[in-house]
């Protein structure tokens, strides 16, 4: 038992180093996904026909191709035409392409959840499209957005483990390095599992608290 604790103590710095890379990837992918997802959602709602077409096809495409295949394509694609891309960047880019597709859909659903009566009422007060979005749609949408966002966060965090396949020294691969020298895979994997669990479960719980805080009085059941 004490040998096991000693192993955990010695490997923790390396595992935490891997955790930092995992978190870095997650944050970058979330930023990409939210930014481009928002743009795509706007394109889909307010854009002309070709733009709507493009967004539709993009979403279908990147929601259908497996995450791992996307990573490998982004990793092997650019070098074959002479562009170098690091494993870390390939992983972030590949998962961001996917995250954008899902985020765009989440945003669209969120905007739609704000009823058309709200928009009509805003227009009848003389608000334009921009003001209506900013002061009426957005504040209501943000509350509906949190649950699917929390879900998407957990998916992205877990998916960063796929960067293992490209050789990125994220949490899982750091674990494998340690296992290679200290042969106690179960202990190391359990520590890794605990770290992942804290990151997913802990953060989604926090977002749940935020959601409750933002709840509109009198509206008991949240949509979604």
């Amino acid at each position: 038992m004490s040998a096991r604790l000693e192993l955990i103590r010695r490997s923790l710095p390396a595992l935490l180093g891997g955790t930092v890379i995992t978190i870095q990837m997650t944050v970058l992918i979330l930023l990409f996904g939210v930014f481009f997802g928002l743009i795509f959602a706007f394109g889909q709602v307010y854009g002309n026909k070709p733009i709507r077409w493009f967004v539709n096809i993009y979403e279908k495409l990147f929601r259908s191709i497996p995450e791992l295949v996307l990573l490998l394509l982004v990793f092997y694609g650019p070098p074959s035409i002479g562009i170098r891309i690091s494993p870390f960047n390939a992983a972030v880019l590949g998962l961001s392409l996917r995250a954008t597709a899902y985020m765009s859909q989440i945003f669209r659903g969120t905007f739609k959840s704000v009823g058309s009566d709200q928009i009509t009422a805003a227009y009848s007060l003389g608000m334009g499209k921009y003001k209506t979005f900013l002061f009426v749609i957005l504040p209501q949408a943000i509350r509906v957005f949190i649950p699917p966002f929390a879900n998407e966060y957990a998916i992205i965090l877990k998916d960063t483990s796929l960067a293992y396949a490209l050789g990125v020294a994220e949490l899982l691969r750091q674990g494998q390095y340690i296992i290679a020298v200290a042969y106690d895979p179960l202990t190391i994997f359990l520590v890794i599992a605990v770290i992942y669990f804290i990151l997913t479960f802990g953060v989604t719980r926090l977002l749940k608290l935020l959601e409750n805080k933002l709840k509109i009085p009198g509206i008991g059941v949240e949509i979604g």
Binding site: Q118, A121, Y123, S124, L125, I216, P217, G218
Partner: protein
């Protein structure tokens, strides 16, 4: 044409189709300042569509709508025009994420750019006018239907409109809550507000309206003063419809 300068609102030969469904088939009438007209008619006849066109929430296919000297269908400052026209919906349309007070303040702050402190004072005054000083900080979901509708009226009034549109403002309400909304509307009419009201509350129509417009299938069948409309309607269709209303809502004149 010279008519248009005399009236506050002048609607001329308004036409609208949704796909091949002809909803408005040449509607014309006008409203002078301080006047109060009520539109009645069967469901699906185009009453809401008329009001929506006045606010250009629906764009008509033909005709003209003049608000004083501005033609609404072709104007390029619709957001300014909409500030001059208050609109109260059947379904309230209160912003779910804002308290009663904030609902009324929003348009003042964001559209009229009134400073926050003044906006608050004005909003409170309007809420007082509709008898709602006690629910300033309640959210829409915490209010009764009658309270919601009165907040909606206060919100529209806060923009200091020249004209108020009401689309069946009481038909989503429980019977015991209808009175409080109608009273607010009656007071408004007495204070000289120009109002165009779609309603089947004949008591209200009789008490405050200058003219009742009976619409059917996108056309105006008959318009006349309430006395004449109730005592001797010209058109047999009008008679039939009023008879049905009596059955549904009871006789209007008693109140």
């Amino acid at each position: 044409m010279e008519d248009k300068n005399r009236s506050l609102l002048n609607i001329i030969d308004l036409k609208k189709s949704f796909g091949d469904n002809l909803v408005l088939d040449g509607i014309s009438f006008s409203l002078d300042t301080g006047e109060n007209k009520v539109i009645i008619g069967p469901s699906g006849t185009g009453k809401s569509t008329v009001l929506n066109c006045v606010n250009r929430l629906v764009v008509p296919d033909g005709g003209e709508i003049w608000l004083e000297d501005t033609e609404i269908i072709s104007c390029n400052n619709i957001n300014e025009i909409r500030q001059e026209i208050g609109y109260v919906f059947q379904g309230f349309g209160l912003f779910h994420h804002l308290t009663a007070l904030r609902n009324v303040m929003l348009g003042l702050i964001r559209v009229k750019k009134v400073p926050k402190k003044e906006a608050k004072e004005q909003a409170i005054a309007k809420l007082e006018q509709v008898g709602l000083l006690d629910v300033l900080d309640s959210y829409p979901a915490q209010l009764s239907g009658g309270q919601k509708q009165r907040v909606a009226i206060a919100r529209a009034l806060a923009m200091e409109p020249k004209l108020m549109l009401f689309d069946e403002p009481t038909s989503a309400l429980d019977p015991e809550l209808i009175g409080e909304v109608l009273n607010v509307m009656k007071n408004l009419a007495r204070e000289g507000m120009t109002m165009l009201v779609v309603t089947h509350e004949m008591g209200f129509a009789r008490a405050v309206s200058d003219e009742i417009i009976f619409m059917e299938k996108g056309k105006i069948v008959e318009k006349s003063s309430p006395e004449k409309m109730f005592k001797q309607p010209e058109n047999p269709r009008t008679r039939e419809f009023l008879f049905k209303l009596d059955e549904l809502y009871g006789k209007g004149g008693e109140e």
